[in-house]
Symmetry: C2
Subunit: 465 residues, 2 copies
């Protein structure tokens, strides 16, 4: 695809659309938009704009489409796959000014929000009305709900409450030619036409730019209990995961963490936490509902399962403060790992009973290639984030051999019935691995769909495939 550069004339037209205060052109101003949370990647767009209205986004898209200017839509820039990077320069559209919660409709248990609302702000606004929006990635304090839609983001509560797909009812979307549509209806279900809402979710900003979001909400559970179980081996902890469901329990969170992850959180955050010898892995397990007795009964049952898997110790959080602290360990793990070592984060997902084979396989592949790893993630969904640690690996090996090691990890993931990325997306950095799972037929269909929406290929080019 041959793109044009943004000329002085085009810049004037862009400025006329959004106003001078919403256009950034200097290197210093654009710097912040040249990277996301993916390791070591820097791409400068030519121009950054911060529109506020759907009309402005539409006019920008039409202008860029007519002039073959590549467009990169961007949420909060917290992505882990390079999806928001302007790899072809061009125009970067930051959605940060689309930051209004338009309506929380208590009669229908629905909300209308703009895509630039920070996920946690929306979660809290819903909670104030006794409602739950259960999509809460670890980055919830900074990521945008629009980015969550684009990447099909998850979080700990997917395991009980379903993925973001279950909550997105209707999306207002600006298409690459500037047309604006609502993808569906503000209803809990419908069966009329190919479901464009679902097609847009996880499309990583390559099919259209979401400008309004209608979400489902549910009554917020009033009670919960949180327990941290420790194990001597990763394998035991992972094997306990599927056994909990087999015992008839669906926890509201079921997270796996390796010891080293917790050690680094302790170092980085200055937490006091009594990390016993011989403990290598942890499960953080939450149960929620409206009735505390019934939650405790579930916890008892879970305990019974854990014992069968050589659980060493169960810490039962006895206050909200302790619950908050345990959750903080899990949520800040990514940041702590990042601050401790050069690393690469991979996102794997398998059927949950395959977790023990996955974690053992990852460690074996690490031994073969000379890297170590810190793994954690949403074990209840079979979703394991693999942080590959450079540590003692020499630069040459890190740069030349690592890709082979990652390839082996994904080959194992696929062999276990899984796939690349449970919730981080493919973006720029995972696309080379896509052929490990998907065939030329998949690529042909995906590219065909892309061409239907974006015949000129201007929207977020170079991502996914």
């Amino acid at each position: 695809m041959i793109y044009n550069k943004i000329t002085e004339q085009l810049l004037q037209e862009i400025t006329a659309i959004v106003g001078a205060d919403a256009v950034l052109t200097s290197e210093a101003e654009i710097q912040d938009y040249s990277h996301d949370e993916t390791e070591d990647l820097i791409y400068f767009p030519e121009v950054v704009v911060k529109p506020k209205t759907v009309e402005a986004v539409s006019a920008l898209m039409r202008l860029c489409n007519d002039n073959l200017i590549p467009v990169t839509p961007r949420g909060a820039g917290t992505g882990l796959a390079g999806g928001a990077l302007a790899v072809n320069g061009g125009l970067l559209i930051s959605m940060e000014r689309f930051n209004k919660i338009i309506d929380i409709d208590e009669a229908n248990l629905q909300a209308i929000v703009e895509p630039g609302v920070i996920t946690e702000i929306f979660i809290n606004a819903a909670a104030e009305k006794g409602l739950l929006y259960p999509v809460d990635p670890a980055s919830k304090g900074s990521c945008f709900i629009g980015g969550n839609v684009a990447n099909c983001s998850g979080g700990p509560r997917v395991v009980k409450y379903g993925t973001i797909r279950e909550y997105m009812l209707n999306l207002e979307v600006v298409l690459p030619n500037g047309d604006v549509i609502w993808t569906g209806a503000n209803t809990l279900k419908y069966a009329s036409g190919y479901n464009l809402t679902q097609l847009l979710i996880g499309s990583e900003g390559t099919l259209g730019i979401v400008t309004k979001i209608v979400t489902k909400l549910i009554p917020k559970p009033t009670q919960d209990a949180l327990m941290l179980a420790s194990f001597a081996t990763n394998e035991d902890a992972c094997a306990a995961v599927s056994a909990i469901f087999r015992a008839g329990i669906v926890p509201s969170a079921l997270e796996f963490m390796e010891r080293r992850g917790i050690e680094w959180v302790i170092e980085h955050d200055g937490l006091t936490f009594d990390l016993k010898d011989g403990v290598e892995a942890f499960l953080l397990i939450e149960a929620d509902g409206s009735d505390l007795d019934s939650i405790f009964a579930d916890c008892e049952k879970i305990n019974g399962v854990l014992e069968q898997y050589n659980c060493q110790d169960v810490l039962f959080a006895d206050s909200s403060a302790q619950k908050e602290e345990l959750w903080r360990i899990r949520r800040t793990m990514a940041v702590s790992v990042k601050s401790n070592s050069v690393y690469k984060e991979e996102d794997t997902v398998v059927p949950r009973a395959a977790l023990p084979k996955l974690i053992n396989g990852i460690k074996a592949i690490g031994s073969k290639y000379g890297f170590s790893s810190v793994c954690y993630g949403h074990a209840g969904d079979g979703n394991l984030h693999v942080n590959i640690i450079k540590a003692g690996m020499c630069d040459e090996d890190w740069n030349s051999k690592l890709k082979d090691g990652i390839t082996e990890i994904f080959e194992l993931t696929v062999a276990l019935g899984g796939t690349l990325s449970g919730e981080h997306g493919i973006g720029l950095v995972q696309k080379d691995f896509m052929p490990l799972k998907y065939s030329p037929v998949h690529f042909a269909i995906w590219k065909g769909i892309k061409s239907v929406f974006d015949p000129n290929g201007i929207l977020n080019p170079g991502k996914i495939f």
Copy 2:
């Protein structure tokens, strides 16, 4: 689109693929495949085949694609929108021999099933292992799981457990050119490439033929309670629906039924049921879980809400037999209505707090055009099935004016934030109404997607748009 007829030569090739015992050509044999459960529609395919393997389906599709023969895939033929009718003749592929439950994987809480498995047989097989597959349309005793996927079918338990979209993990699909793909992975979530699983769900057999299905299962709740609440007006019953959720309860079923529907079930099924004077509408409300005390507490709360909406009486089912009988009333209502009058069934869905306006509007439109109606459905989802009753309407009005009345019902539905069809699909009979909700931009995208999968337009032509 110009299609070819099935020549003697092609018939020989078809027979070579599936075997002579799997090919039907005489009018008498094909009769059963010329209609579905939609009113008054008869279309004969030229040939019916009943393949047993994915290889056979692939070879049939390739042959038909090469020779421009239209292909109609068919499940159990229980559809209500004419989606399985061979409107252009050609080859009808019945999936009835794909009737195996291949695996119920208790370690992963997943199952692999063929699309021709009767939904209830699968539900029962899962239940025997303590697992719940919660997608149970009223036709569950005869419909196929593959037809449910094609039509995005629902049922009473969507309201708590989510739509069929939440349960379909991975589909094996034969594309119109004979290529076979798996749409995704056997995982509870993933974010890698446009989600073809979700695109296939609800595509009504126009993009590919599903030959294997991987579903999610969940632990089956061990306890439930069922109550039937009666109201003097439809409006009160409908208004109570959203209030139940606002009170923090998510019932496992919340069904609305009009008095006349119950009267007709009593007549048709010879049920004994004490239908009190002055009662016009009913809500059938189920709560489930693992703890009976907690379920009863929910029922108390629901009762409190019902009282605020002038509920006249609440019948609390006190045995499994009584529960079964109440459910039978709801499930057999469609059949009873059908046997009592010439009718047309429409499927509407709105945000649930809009139900009172929807039902009042439907009655007002009926008065204007001279038809009456019996409404019932999954009120908790805002999904109302509208059975328009011919009764005293003269043939001329029925044939000439009815379409205007239906148009007004759908205009109202759309004005209330809803859309056509919550779970029946568009098929043949609803497609004229699609422009009431969707714009030329939607149609252009849908047709573009259709062309990507099926450039020759051979697969289930004439459906949806």
